[in-house]
């Protein structure tokens, strides 16, 4: 039985119900950012939009074909963003990350410390995940093309809890 999460969260305490390994369905608004956007925000020391309590999805979608809502949009390897996690959680106060693969121990510690979570999307399943997206719009860094920050509305996006709010990691 898959548990559901609706964004925005009614407080971070809600996340206590989701334990590493749980299969979940996520609905609501999330924001994309991957390598280039992370680097730019980190160097600027701020985000171009308010990301407080937001989920960040590590993805670079393919361009949207005509008559489609979105292109393929599966997760990219999360570990490349590990060094930015402290900044994203502590300074920008994001609440969650969505990506693929294992992370350094620092990320689990940071999740515990800042009451944040890491969710895993099925890797390589960009077409399937596109089915969960009901709307996409560019919000910042258009010069980064697929690596820009996009606002995505998702419905029942299939995910697995990778690191929960208690710092438990599905890979450890």
């Amino acid at each position: 039985m898959k548990k559901r999460i609706q964004l925005p969260l009614q407080g971070r305490k809600v996340l206590e119900n989701f334990i590493a390994g749980d299969e979940i369905l996520l609905s609501g608004v999330i924001y994309t950012a991957r390598d280039a956007a992370h680097k730019k925000m980190f160097e600027a020391g701020k985000a171009p939009i308010d990301l407080r309590d937001k989920f960040i999805y590590y993805t670079g979608p393919t361009p949207t074909p005509p008559q489609a809502i979105v292109g393929s949009c599966g997760p990219t390897t999360s570990s490349r963003m590990d060094n930015f996690v402290e900044f994203m959680l502590a300074d920008l106060q994001t609440v969650g990350m969505i990506g693929k693969g294992k992370r350094s121990a620092l990320v689990a510690d940071a999740c515990k410390k800042y009451k944040a979570v890491y969710f895993i999307a099925p890797g390589g399943c960009g077409a399937l995940l596109a089915n969960s997206v009901t709307k996409i719009e560019l919000v910042a860094y258009p010069e980064f093309l697929s690596e820009a920050i996009y606002r995505m509305e998702v419905e029942d996006m299939p995910l697995i809890v990778g690191i929960d709010i208690f710092g438990s990691d599905v890979f450890r």
């Binding site: 299969e23 393929s72 390897t77 693969g101 895993i120 077409a127 697929s146």
Partner: protein
């Protein structure tokens, strides 16, 4: 001699179509490996996860969306018949076709300057390798290569006294270290011999199913076969599972290419193909 004029529109359109298809649909034998692994899974957790992969391939075909959003940097292996007389610039022909395919297919342009990270906006240049074959065909093998898997590539220069057991151990350890990152279950390519870059090229071709046996002796072939079955068996026992979340389905296939090397060395390369190991062939 057969003259092939690359200015012919039909040739160009065929290559564009093949590049587009390579990102939309897996080769039947690749999908069969995925589907038969899914069908044979006993562990429900693994089967559930593998189900996402099967469903994703179906959705991609139905909706004409790329199987994976990482539509890759395009690798093209070109085999030129020795009796072919080529008219035109083959590299330009390939790069123009790649640019058109990535634009028309609504594929991601992932190619950037290695130093400034500025996007070339065309997904070119492609990575092109040429070789000669007998006959009068011109063959293209197009491989969109995603970097989640590519980043896991490993090369080791063994001592010549290393055994095939040492090599298998190294490969298994490499697969274990990569864990979930290359999007398992995997298609592994192994290159043994040559020089450092030759081993990597052998591995990459093996990973794409381009296995070369012309210069391989029967004795070498039997070593290769036993290494291959050992890697598949032990690789799956690593219990990495779909997306690395633990379970059945870690290694879908392994191919090994070998080549003579120097008395002082033994290069071994491992390249990773994610479950979405893409390849399409065009023969002109």
């Amino acid at each position: 001699m057969r003259k092939i004029n690359l200015a012919k529109e039909e040739y160009f359109n065929s290559l564009v179509a093949v590049i587009i298809q390579s990102n939309l649909k897996l080769e039947p034998e690749t999908f069969d490996k995925i589907k038969s692994t899914y069908d044979s899974m006993k562990d429900l957790h693994s089967k559930n996860l593998m189900g996402y992969i099967v469903e994703n391939c179906q959705v991609a075909t139905e909706k004409k969306l790329p199987i994976c959003q990482d539509t890759g940097i395009l690798e093209v292996f070109v085999k030129i018949g020795r009796n072919v007389f080529l008219e035109g610039n083959l590299e330009n022909f390939i790069n123009k076709a790649a640019a058109k395919a990535y634009s028309d297919g609504y594929f991601r342009k992932s190619v950037v300057s290695a130093l400034t990270r500025e996007n070339t906006k065309t997904n070119t240049p492609a990575i092109i390798h040429f070789e000669f074959i007998d006959g009068d065909n011109l063959e293209f093998y197009v491989v969109p290569k995603g970097f989640g898997a590519e980043n896991m590539t490993t090369l080791k220069m063994f001592n010549p006294t290393a055994s095939s057991l040492d090599i298998v151990d190294f490969i298994l350890q490499t697969v274990k270290n990569a864990g979930p990152n290359p999007c398992p279950p995997l298609f592994l390519g192994i290159g043994i011999g040559g020089t450092s870059e030759k081993a990597l090229l052998l591995a990459k071709k093996a990973q794409s199913g381009l296995v070369e046996i012309e210069h391989v002796t029967d004795e070498e072939l039997s070593v290769v076969d036993s290494m291959k079955s050992e890697i598949i068996k032990c690789g799956n026992e690593l219990w990495i599972g779909p997306f690395g979340l633990g379970g059945e389905g870690s290694v879908l296939n392994v191919n090994i290419n070998v080549y003579p090397t120097h008395i002082a060395g033994l290069p071994v390369a491992v390249t990773f193909g994610c479950w979405c190991n893409r390849l399409k062939k065009l023969v002109l």
